[in-house]
């Protein structure tokens, strides 16, 4: 039985295909269209899913959509009625897409896919809950979902047991922890639904002391937090329910200045505000989780929703709550709901037992050796070919040890926003200048943003103060931990200003080639840790095809591209006119 899950029309469109309850293919549309956070109908992602299984759309038994559009539309209309006449601009700009697409999902699916059956619609937060629980290793778990907003709901908690899910309580729009974080993201001059992670990365530069950070006290005025973690926002400080911007003038006054413009300097005040919102987020999250534990009395917690990408808070959960085990899937955000809705249909609605756990994120397209060779030959690209994986690992590890920047393109593309060793840029974490080199030559990103380390799971405890045992979401780069102090100066390029690192752990069974590469580098350098950053430039989606990878290398300062068994040296090939700096966006 094949079930297709679809998520689109808000942000991060995606498609996921289940075959008899096993996720066989999943990808975000942005990787194919090359438009970051693409919201359009995921026709390319669906085509990939079908081609991967060599099936046609007629062989799909069910298609599921990740929300109930009419309930969401009711919420949108309620916003306009409440805010009349202030919402006229957003009404005029947003309503056509509702009329043309969002309220016609079944028609769009039938038209674009030539699908003859109906479409199932699952509530947004239920799709989130299913996306984390039904593919988790837990038979029973407490569930927490937090995002910007679904239909009406912004936060829920409940329980998952076997193949059943029940969401017990909710907090409704306009009160939203996700939108509070996004509003501060907008206030700090970053883009909403994209750059929240930059605020998280900026926060350690601010005062993380609740008693000394004046903006922490100020921001507490905009949110009323109860002991059980429930909350409401003071809507005098926000305009997002009727405008296309988020903070109100009152919020600007509270935070001692106007909204930061994109290219202006980031001051200590901005850093303190970033720290304050991170502290508030953690306050609410831990109160919520402690309350959920008291109600559910289960040691396992699964979390989904865009706020699940807050890896700094995730890394503190087991220390600040009674939960013993935690699980998040590689894409806890809206993109991940395509997996959620498909799993919900298969297990919960149709009643099939669970026997699948998502152990790795490699669910995207792959390219065979002959396909890559054909691409290289066709484009007259100079390359060399290694004879086997052992030689590939030896050569690549040596190149990294000699401070080269490597584009690593191997196997199936990752599911979710993080590069996890299939479409990664790898470099030497021991070189103190590597952060600067990567920023200037490749990533063109803000100096305050740290790079992430990757380490084999059996080495992680030596270098990081991880929870014991290391939680599985660490494999998906969703947990930030402190780096042990004696290693700070040894791996400076991945040590953030507060001594933390957003590590990825890798298990041999997940990706043997990647695992062996890190081990080999460890033998050369003495420290088996690499910098792993996504294979893209700022503002572009992660590369998907050999063409994307080659283009990215030639437009940046990546020294070598390692694609399958092919080694391509940038210097050996004519430099493209493609100027990555020109294309670098927010």
């Amino acid at each position: 039985m094949y079930i297709l899950g679809i998520s689109c029309y808000y942000h991060d469109s995606s498609a996921a295909l289940l075959k008899d309850g096993i996720i066989v293919a999943a990808a975000q549309e942005e990787r194919f269209t090359r438009k970051k956070h693409d919201t359009t109908f995921p026709i390319n992602a669906i085509k990939f899913c079908l081609e991967h299984q060599l099936i046609t759309i007629n062989e799909i038994d069910y298609i599921g959509f990740y929300e109930k559009p009419l309930i969401k539309f009711e919420r949108v209309l309620s916003q306009h009625i409440e805010a009349f006449p202030l919402s006229i601009k957003t009404f005029l700009s947003s309503l056509p897409s509702w009329i043309n697409e969002k309220l016609r999902v079944t028609r769009e699916v039938k038209k674009k896919l030539k699908y003859k059956k109906g479409v199932l619609f699952v509530e947004h937060h239920l799709a989130h809950a299913a996306s984390c629980f039904l593919i988790s290793p837990f038979k029973k778990a407490a569930i927490l979902t937090i995002d910007g907003v679904g239909e009406w709901t912004t936060t829920t908690w409940g329980i998952g047991e076997g193949k059943e899910i029940q969401l017990n309580k909710e907090i409704k729009f306009p009160h939203s922890l996700g939108l509070l974080y996004s509003a501060i993201t907008a206030y700090l001059g970053f883009s909403v639904n994209n750059s929240e992670y930059k605020v998280m990365g900026l926060s350690p530069y601010g005062l993380m002391d609740r008693t000394k950070n004046i903006y922490y006290e100020k921001l507490k005025k905009v949110i009323d937090i109860k002991d059980d973690g429930s909350y409401r926002l003071n809507m005098n400080y926000f305009v997002y329910y009727y405008k296309d911007k988020m903070p109100s003038k009152k919020l600007c006054q509270l935070l001692d200045g106007s909204i930061r413009t994109k290219d202006s300097e980031i001051t200590q005040r901005h850093k303190d505000i970033a720290a304050a919102v991170q502290l508030i987020y953690e306050d609410v999250l831990f109160k919520m989780l402690n309350h959920v534990y008291r109600e559910i009395k289960c040691e396992n917690i699964v979390i989904a929703g865009g706020c699940g990408l807050n890896s700094v808070a995730n890394g503190k959960i087991l220390n600040n709550t009674p939960f013993k085990n935690i699980w998040l899937q590689p894409d806890p955000s809206d993109g991940g709901t395509s997996i959620g809705v498909a799993s919900y249909i298969y297990h919960t609605i149709l009643g099939n037992e669970r026997d699948f756990v998502l152990n790795n994120a490699y669910l995207g397209p792959s390219f065979s050796t002959s396909e890559i060779k054909s691409f290289l030959e066709k484009n007259k690209i100079k390359y060399s070919k290694v004879k086997d994986n052992k030689e590939l690992i030896n050569i690549t590890a040596q190149l990294i040890h000699k401070d080269n920047v490597i584009g690593w393109f191997q196997g199936r593309m990752e599911w979710g926003p993080r590069a996890l060793g299939a479409r990664s840029i790898l470099s030497n974490a021991c070189n103190p200048k590597m952060q600067e080199i990567l920023n200037l030559k490749v990533k063109h990103r803000e100096k305050f943003r740290p790079f992430a380390p990757v380490v084999c799971n059996n080495d992680a405890q030596k270098y990081f103060k991880c929870d014991k045992p290391i939680p599985l979401p660490t494999d998906f780069m969703l947990m930030v931990y402190q780096i042990k102090k004696r290693w700070h100066k040894k791996i400076p390029s991945v040590t953030h200003v507060d001594g933390s690192g957003r590590l990825q752990t890798i298990r041999k069974e997940q990706n043997p080639l990647y695992y062996e590469l890190i081990k080999k580098f460890g033998k050369l350098s003495g420290i088996p840790i690499l910098i792993n950053t996504s294979f893209n430039i700022r503002g572009e989606p992660i590369v998907c095809t050999p063409g994307d990878a080659y283009k990215c290398m030639m437009g940046t300062g990546i020294d070598y591209l390692v694609m399958d068994k092919f080694l391509i040296k940038r210097e050996d090939n004519p430099q493209d006119m493609w100027n990555s700096e020109k294309y670098a966006k927010d």
């Binding site: 599921g64 109930k68 559009p69 009419l70 309930i71 009711e74 209309l77 309620s78 916003q79 306009h80 009625i81 409440e82 009349f84 006449p85 919402s87 006229i88 009404f91 005029l92 309503l95 056509p96 309220l103 999902v105 079944t106 109906g118 479409v119 199932l120 619609f121 699952v122 509530e123 937060h125 239920l126 709901t153 829920t156 409940g158 059943e164 899910i165 029940q166 969401l167 017990n168 309580k169 909710e170 907090i171 409704k172 729009f173 306009p174 009160h175 009323d224 109860k226 002991d227 059980d228 429930s230 909350y231 409401r232 003071n234 809507m235 329910y241 249909i345 919960t348 609605i349 149709l350």
Partner: protein
């Protein structure tokens, strides 16, 4: 021949843009009518009766802001509905 082709393709593009502009004007006009009559009228009536469509109140006295949801499995027919 090339000149004719160039003219025709330019003409076609011009007509497309013209069509788009006309459709934006008509759509905006219709949406303005819907906004002021549909949304506006409802909003005024709601305000007269103190009816709020978004719950924005804060209460220091309430112990919790959690509200009941009880969202669980329904029959498959319910999932074919968009509401």
């Amino acid at each position: 021949m090339n000149k004719i082709f160039f003219f025709l393709s330019g003409f076609k593009e011009g007509m497309r843009q013209f069509g788009q502009t006309i459709s934006i004007i008509i759509n905006s006009g219709l949406l303005l009518i819907v906004y002021f009559i549909g949304i506006g009228f409802t909003s005024i009536i709601a305000k007269l009766f103190h009816k709020h469509f978004l719950d924005t109140d804060l209460s220091k006295n309430e112990k919790s802001y959690w509200t009941d949801l009880n969202l669980k499995k329904k029959s498959i027919k319910e999932y074919y509905k968009q509401f």
